[in-house]
Every structure is written in C-alpha cells, then in structure tokens.
C-alpha cells in the first residue's frame, strides 16, 4: 500500500505539471488582460494535433516538431487576440463566453482537418525507469522536466527582465505602467500569445503520451482554472504548486476512492477555496 501511495505521489506531481502549464497560461492572461481564456484547452489541442501531424504525418523529427507546433499555436493565439480578445479586455463575462465560443470554432476546424478517429503518435521514447517501488515512463519524465523548466524560466523572466517586471507593474497599476513607458497594448497581446504558446507546448508534449481527440483540452482547462484559483490567480509559482496539488490529490485519491470520482476533487477544492480563501492558498501577488 505504501508503495502504491508513494508511486502515485510522484505520478501526481508529473501529471500536475501539465495542469500547471495551463494554469500558468490562465493566471498570466487574467493578470494582464483581466479575463480567463477558457479556450486555452482548445489551443492545447491545436498544439497536440499539429505536433502529431508534423511528426507522424510529415515525418519531421519530434524534437523539431515541438517548437513548430508551439509557433503554430501562438500564431492562432495572435489571430484570436486581434479579432476577439482585444474587444473583451477586463470584461470577465464577455471574455468567458467568447472564449467558450472559440472552443467550438477551434474544435470544428480540427475536426474538419483531421476527423474524429483517434490519433496516436508513434512512441518516441518507450520504456520505463524502474525505481523498484514504482515506475516512471521515460517520456512522461521528459515531459515533466521540460514543463518544469519552462515554468521556472517564465518565473525568472518575469522577475528578472525588464519586460517581465513591466508586466508585473502593469498588472498592479495599469495607468502608472503606461506613464512609465510600458507598451500596454503590446504587453496584453504578448501575454495572450505567450499563454497560448504555453498551452501549445503542453499539447505538443501531451501528444507523445496519450491518444488525441479534439476535446482533449476540455478537462485540462477546467483543471487549469481550478489549479490557478486554488493557488491564487496571479502567482506564477503558485500555478505550478496548484497544478501539482491537484495532480497529487487525484492520483492518490484514486487509490482510495473510485476512479469515477477523479474529477470531483478539483471541483471541491474550487468551491472551498473560492468561499473560504478567495486569494488562493499562496496568496495573490498581483
């Protein structure tokens, strides 16, 4: 039993980073543009399908296909920002509904391009690392490290570069930032594009582990939002922590409770946090 729990603890951490990268996108978008982009799950699907298609359809080596998929997703993000999100800044309800509409648009285009038959990428890095007590599939470990690196790099960029600190300044006091020379329009668009790129990265990596369906992002965006709110919207490292907390709870919970209730943990957290500690577990560093 202990073996099982420890193994799932680690499994949960790994799964949590995938929730974390989406949560990061959610938190950045909210902090700078004032809306929650529910379509990030659909952007994750774009990254996954493009990554799969480049690798299995066009024969491009997977490590090269990933950045290409990320760029493709970011491009779509730019398009979405300029045509849609530009008009819903700081309007949470409108942003919510528009992004939900965008999900249908993206999913239908993916369907038209690639139909509903499930897609399965060839195994890029099969095999497991056996720790005796538990196993970690090699590719899953790679995905974990890449996502962790990206999240940490984002944190570093936000706290150490001029652009990053400008973003923080903007999030706290938009007019002041504007007066200090921050190109706010560019910043807003940049953040939307960056979050879709993060989602695209998550998707491209997802494709190496699981089979693809156009609605693959729907549970991830919900869990990304849950993780972001759990940790406190606005906190970069918090989104990683929130994701991990959620992933671990689901993984360990599935040992003791029916797998069927797996999605319920996140929902319960969500409600409890919003009611009792709206600033999130790690506080909001807006």
């Amino acid at each position: 039993m202990l073996q099982l729990v420890v193994g799932q603890l680690l499994n949960g951490v790994i799964i949590g980073t995938l929730y974390g990268i989406i949560a990061l996108g959610v938190t950045l978008t909210f902090g700078i543009t004032g809306i929650v982009n529910f379509a990030l799950g659909a952007f994750m699907a774009i990254g996954a399908y493009v990554g799969w298609y480049l690798t299995d359809g066009l024969g491009i080596a997977y490590p090269a296909a990933i950045p290409l998929a990320v760029c493709a997703t970011a491009l779509m993000g730019l398009l979405a920002d300029q045509t849609l999100f530009r008009f819903t800044r700081n309007n949470l309800i409108n942003g919510l509904i528009v992004s939900i509409g965008l999900i249908s648009v993206i999913e239908s285009v993916l369907l038209m391009l690639w139909t509903t038959t499930p897609k399965n990428m060839h195994y890029v890095l099969p095999g497991v690392i056996d720790f005796g007590w538990f196993i970690v599939p090699r590719m899953k470990g790679v995905v974990f490290l890449v996502l962790l690196a990206v999240i940490l790099a984002t944190y570093a960029a936000l706290t150490r570069t001029w652009t990053g600190r400008a973003a923080y300044a903007y999030a706290q006091a938009p007019e002041a930032a504007l007066l200090m020379g921050v190109r706010t329009r560019l910043l807003e668009t940049g953040v939307v594009v960056y979050s879709t790129a993060l989602a695209g990265l998550g998707g491209a990596l997802y494709a190496s582990l699981y089979s693809l369906e156009v609605s693959l992002g729907s549970s991830y965006i919900l869990k990304g939002v849950e993780a972001a709110i759990l940790a406190g919207i606005g906190s970069v490292m918090g989104s990683l922590m929130g994701g991990i907390l959620l992933g671990v709870t689901e993984a360990v919970g599935s040992i003791f409770f029916p797998q069927a209730y797996r999605d319920a943990y996140g929902l319960v957290f969500l409600v409890l946090v919003l009611l009792f500690r709206p600033a999130g577990l790690f506080g909001a560093r807006r």
């Binding site: 039993m1 073996q3 099982l4 193994g7 799932q8 499994n11 949960g12 799964i15 369907l111 509903t116 038959t117 499930p118 399965n120 195994y123 099969p126 497991v128 538990f134 196993i135 599939p137 699981y210 089979s211 369906e213 609605s215 693959l216 729907s218 549970s219 689901e250 993984a251 360990v252 599935s254 040992i255 029916p258 797998q259 069927a260 797996r262 999605d263």
Partner: protein, 394 residues
C-alpha cells in the same frame, strides 16, 4: 430599363424555368425505395456510426450503379437519408420523425448507441408494423420479441447465450488458467451493460472479478492501473473504444499488466504495443488483414472502398461494418425480392428471418430477430505473432 431589356430578361427567365422544369422531371424516373440511417457520425461515441455510414453509402451506390434491383417485375433504386444524430436523443427523435412522417421511410438502420435508442423507442413503438429498425444497440436485445416491438431487429452478435461469443471467450479464458480478471470500463450505458453481461459469466466459471470505472474522456489511467496491478489479476478487461484502448494498453504494460482480454475494439492497440504485451485476446467480427488475402468478397470490398473514398482502408474500424452496414443493405434487397414487395414490411421481415445471407459475413437472424454471424477471436502474442480462430455459429 428599356422595354427591350425587360423582354430579354423575361425571355431569359422563361428559358431558365423551362430548363429547370425539364430537369426536375426526368424522362423515365425509377421509383426509389427510401432507406434511412440514424447513427452518431461525429462526437465522442461515433465509432460504430462512422463505419456504418461509410459502408452504407458504398452499398447504395453500388446497387444503384448496377441499375437498381427488381422486385415483382418492377425496377427500383435506393435512396439513402443519413442524418447525424451526434449521439443526442432529442436530435435523433426529430430526425426519426422526419424520416417516418415526411419521407415515409420504411427501413431504418441504426442506432448503435443505447441512449439514442432509448430516446426514440417510445415514439418508434407507435409505428410498429409500419417500418423496420435494424440497429446494433445493446438495449435493443432486451426489447426484441416484446409486444409493440415487432419493428426491431438487432444487427450485432449477442455476447451471452449459446451462439454468443462472450460465453465462449470466458470459457476459453478459464482453459488458459485465468483465476482473476480486472475490468476497467467506461462509466456509461454500454459499460454497465457489459458488466451486467460478463460479471455473471465470470462468476459461473469461478473466475474472480474486480471492476473499476472511469469517465469517458479520461486519458491518464496510471493511478487506477497501479491500483489494479497491486491486485495482481491474470487478465485486464479494458474499455470498449479504441480511443481509450491505446492509452489503457500502453499504460497498463508500463505497470506490468501484460495480458488483455477484449470483447470490443480493434487490433490496433495490441499491435502498437506488441513488444510489451504477452497476450492480447480480442473478439473481432473479422480480421480484415487476413480475410483480404483469403476471401474474394473482402478483397473486392477493400479495393472498392479505396476507389470510392480515395483514401486508405481503415482496417482498424472495418470490423464494425458487421453492424447495420454494407452487407445489411444487400440483405434487405434480397429479402424484398424474396418477399415480392418493397413496402409490405411484415413480409419483408419474415423474409429476412428466413434465409442466410453470404456477403462479407455469413449472416442470419434468429427467431427473436437478433443476428448471428461468424466472427474471429484473435490472439496477439508478444512480438506480434497473430493466432486467429474462426467461429461460425450455427
């Protein structure tokens, strides 16, 4: 505009109308027998509906291209109407009403989804005697033979019973020495029916049975699989669509579960993981890769598909064409010929139950209206060697 311009426009319009009128009434119109298909062609649960719609279109085209068919001295073509229900009972109900009330369709193929069937069943009961519904839904099995359900026929093998492949496969599992089987199934309508069918079968053979459920749409099974692995089952009985099977088989082999036993799904997941599995035993209506080489009709079907749709043949999905698909259209036409009528539904039904059709499959209906057809049980062993056993129930 001048008067001459008016005249020209009027003449032009008149000519166009005349052409349209002529085009709308072709010289010698052949009467068409309307058939309908009511399946989910898109959406999460569209696997069966998709292949059925592919096969049906081919069959209808083929029959019409050959000049139609003749019943009681008159020539007919087929007209297919195949809306997409998207797995939604409300939509399916309205589509069925359209088919039966407006288009006067008498032969409806589908549905395969149990929830769609249950949504349209009360309405369909009101049309008993006026049409036939030939569907693969598991819930149809329980309504066959009931009063007001004479319109029903089921186009899929029943798992249990004497001619059932399920009991056969469970017995076979017992012979292999299995003592513990763990099931990991979608928490939906079919999943529960599957459990209700198989749990007693396993109990009868004295095999210990453990069940776990997951939400459709799940892709990461690592935790529940680790839990199952701790119980050390002999075989894993995984969910019923390819979408989840690829993930379950891959992740199961990672935690050391290498023996699989399936009653739905395709060979794909087993083949993709062939170096990690020890046994991947699966019931499939037909192992197409082998049948293509050994059966002339199958070879022709594969070639026709490629020519018709201009894409690769879906070997993975093709076995699903055993339900309300290609063969069934031809079988219906045969039955109409035997009955000597295209609209006497009672006669056509009696005819359908009265003969065995030999197409891609050898199909007959038993006395309750449920199909019995030949099938294969495929065992993929480690490394990819494939052992096929053919079954031809009487």
């Amino acid at each position: 505009m001048g008067k001459s311009q008016h005249c020209r426009i009027a003449l032009g319009a008149g000519a166009a109308l005349a052409v349209l009128a002529l085009a709308a009434f072709p010289a010698a119109a052949q009467e068409a027998v309307k058939i309908g298909e009511i399946e989910a062609q898109t959406g999460a649960l569209n696997t069966y509906g998709w292949m059925s719609s592919q096969g049906m279109r081919m069959a209808v085209e083929e029959i019409n291209k050959a000049g139609g068919f003749e019943v009681a001295g008159k020539k007919y073509t087929l007209e297919l109407t195949a809306p997409d229900t998207q797995g939604n009972p409300q939509q399916a109900l309205i589509e069925l009403k359209k088919m039966l009330e407006e288009e006067h369709v008498r032969y409806v193929f589908g549905p395969f989804l149990t929830n769609v069937y249950k949504g349209i069943e009360p309405y369909a009961d009101g049309f008993d005697g006026k049409f036939l519904m030939i569907g693969g839904a598991t819930a149809i099995h329980f309504d066959l033979g009931k009063p007001q359900h004479g319109y029903l026929l089921r186009s899929w093998n029943w798992d249990a019973g004497d001619a059932g492949f399920g009991s056969l496969m469970v017995a076979n599992l017992k012979e292999r020495g299995a003592k513990k089987v763990a099931m990991l199934m979608q928490n939906d309508a079919f999943g529960h029916v599957a459990r209700d069918i198989y749990a007693p079968l396993f109990a009868k053979e004295g095999i210990e049975f453990h069940e776990e459920w997951f939400e459709p749409g799940t892709t990461d099974f690592s935790s529940v699989l680790a839990k199952i692995a701790a119980w050390k089952p002999d075989y894993l009985f995984p969910g019923y669509t390819d979408a989840v099977l690829y993930d379950i088989v891959r992740q199961a082999t990672e935690v050391g579960l290498t023996r699989f036993w399936l009653v739905r799904g395709s060979l794909g997941p087993g083949l993709k993981n062939k170096d990690a599995v020890d046994d991947y035993i699966i019931y499939i209506p037909k192992y197409f890769e082998e049948a293509e080489a050994s059966e002339a009709k199958v070879k022709k079907f594969v070639a026709d598909y490629k020519a018709f749709y201009k894409k690769d043949f879906p070997y993975d999905q093709a076995p699903l064409c055993s339900s309300s698909c290609y063969d069934h259209v031809f079988m219906l036409v045969e039955a109409m010929k035997k009955a000597g009528s295209v609209d006497d539904v009672a006669k056509v039904r009696a005819a359908l139950l009265g003969f065995t059709y030999e197409g891609l499959w050898k199909i007959r209906y038993d006395s309750t209206g449920e199909e019995v057809f030949n099938f294969d049980v495929v065992d993929i062993k480690k490394g990819g060697t494939i052992a096929v056993t053919h079954f031809a129930p009487k």
